[in-house]
Amino acid sequence: MGAKVKLISGRTVAQGQNLDNKLSEEYFKAVALCELSAEDMEKIGASPGDNVKVRTEYGEVVVKAKQSTGYPEGVIFIPMGPWANAVTSGNTKGAGMPQYKGIDAEIEKTDEPVLNIKELMKRYM
């Protein structure tokens, strides 16, 4: 069961602490996740720690679900980094800036694994 959402990305403290440490387990834990509201969690039948597949017009990626307060229903957050960017549009519409926030996305619970950074980068090569 999936849900239509708006995806935003941004900084977090743990993401910032591991900026110079991106090939580490700590960075993976800090960034390969998706924060969402309890409502959206329920909608896709997921529990915290489950894997969630996020799909947009530009690609798909699997991340860990993290229930969080402060999110309105229909808005999900992935910390800025390779996982979020796997599904971000590059079209800058003549402004130079990709749209990292407010991307239309679909989410669903999945049993597929979360790719680590090396696996993720391999997809581009």
Partner: protein
């Protein structure tokens, strides 16, 4: 053990310069006064050990000389090279970077391209009524964070400069101030606010236009609900703005990276101008990297333009959307790239990375990261602000000098770019013969 005071933090655009660091055996062992993120940076992480060149798909260690030579060959032979990054290094390196770009007819661009580039475009349309952070500390009784979350991205910002800081005219600190937060989600920053405005994703532009109409005395035309925000809330914020003797909007990537992009910022600046008809109002971008501003400064005084400058025809052509890095990569325009002090592998949209991974890439950085996964030449350098000194610009344009805290055998960014430049010149003069 040596204690070093007044250390300048090489992490975010706050560039806190009151950090105390303890150094033992040429290593930073203790950090006081920095935020969690800044502390992590100063304490250090695992490093790239040696320069390397990719051979048959794998990176093979080599000497600095070999790596620099290879880098120069790639750049001198390229028809549309890109020099990208520059926001986590010092201005001295950037200056040489501009020179290199001229020499090889490259596009030079920094991370503002995917951060506050839209803010620059906005400033080019309407200007920027702003001030230094000390003005905010001493005078601002109303602070608005719009699409910005300093608790995550700028740990010391509120404490040193804004909501929590005590100032000359506001000796009570936050007791004397009001905090408004506008965001699509209720962040930690939002939880501290006197007034939190939750806007629907991608609708900031509409809320800003409504706010302007109200500030100019046309609340009658504003509908009851704008972008998920009630008219009542818009009127309340407008009143808070009018009544504050000195107010400021700090804005972040919540507005630069969402629908509307630079136009959201133009509108936010227009709101500031409208508020200025009633009182003193200012606006400031929450710049991310500690020297993202510095690159824009140097690039502006040297080329006339702040980022995304195309020097392929010998003169400077500036046109973000065309000459900005993600566009160049998605459009597959570039045939080589030098990436310094940044990590497009982690921070560019997948579509851009796809092309970047297919062309020759030179990476200059102290740390391995996703870009290293496909870089063809990897050149490790000293960590600026820890192992090398130099000039940087705070988010409000204040120039500070990073300090060198410990010794290193790594070359600095400046030295590496200088060496590449000399090597490129040697190749070009040979071609000329």
């Amino acid at each position: 053990m040596v204690e070093i005071t007044d250390v300048v933090c090489p992490l975010c655009g706050c560039v806190c310069d009151d950090i105390v660091v303890e150094v033992e055996d040429n290593r930073v062992t203790k950090v006081r006064g920095a935020c969690a993120v800044g502390k992590s940076k100063l304490m250090g992480h695992g490093r790239i050990k040696s320069p390397a060149i990719r051979v048959n798909g794998a990176l093979k260690e080599c000497s600095y000389d070999e790596a620099i030579k290879k880098a120069a060959e790639i750049l001198a032979g390229a028809r549309r090279p890109l020099l990208y990054g520059w926001s986590s290094t010092v201005c001295e390196a950037t200056k040489l970077g501009v020179c290199l770009a001229e020499e090889i007819g490259a596009v030079i661009d920094n991370t503002a391209s995917v951060c506050h580039g839209p803010s620059v475009l906005a400033i080019q349309d309407v200007g920027l009524p702003s001030c230094t952070l000390g003005e905010v500390k001493n005078r601002a009784s109303l602070i608005i964070y719009w699409g910005a979350n300093p608790t995550a991205a700028h740990g010391n910002h509120m404490k040193r400069y804004s909501y929590i800081a005590k100032g000359y005219f506001l000796p009570g600190g936050k007791k004397d101030k009001k905090l408004v937060v506008v965001d699509v989600r209720e962040t930690k920053t939002a939880k501290m606010a006197d007034k939190f405005i939750q806007v629907e994703p991608g609708k900031d532009y509409l809320v800003l236009s409504a706010l302007r109409a109200v500030l100019y005395g046309h609340e009658d035309v504003v509908p009851d609900n704008v972008g998920g925000v009630s008219k009542e809330d818009i009127l309340e914020v407008a009143n808070m703005m009018k009544e504050a003797p000195f107010g400021i909007i700090f804005f972040g990537m919540g507005v630069t990276q969402s629908r509307g992009r630079h136009n959201n910022i133009i509108n936010a600046i227009q709101v500031t101008r409208a508020a200025h008809t009633h009182t003193k109002f200012n606006i400031m971008p929450m710049r991310g990297h500690y020297n993202v501003t510095g690159f824009n400064q140097v690039c502006t005084w040297e080329t006339g333009f702040p980022f995304a400058v195309d020097l392929s025809r010998g003169f400077a052509w500036y046109n973000p959307g065309e000459t900005s890095s993600t566009d160049l990569l998605i459009r597959r325009e570039c045939d080589a790239a030098l990436i310094i002090a940044s990590d497009p592998g982690a921070h560019f949209p997948g579509e851009s990375i796809k092309h970047l991974s297919k062309i020759p890439v030179i990476q200059i950085d102290p740390f391995a990261n996703p870009t290293t996964e496909f870089a063809d030449v990897v050149i490790p350098t000293a960590v600026s602000g820890v192992e090398a000194e130099g000039s940087v610009y705070r988010m409000d344009g204040i120039p500070l000098r990073l300090r060198k805290l410990v010794d290193t055998d790594y070359l600095s960014d400046e030295e590496v770019i200088q060496a590449i430049l000399e090597e490129v010149r040697a190749i070009k003069s040979k071609e000329g013969e």
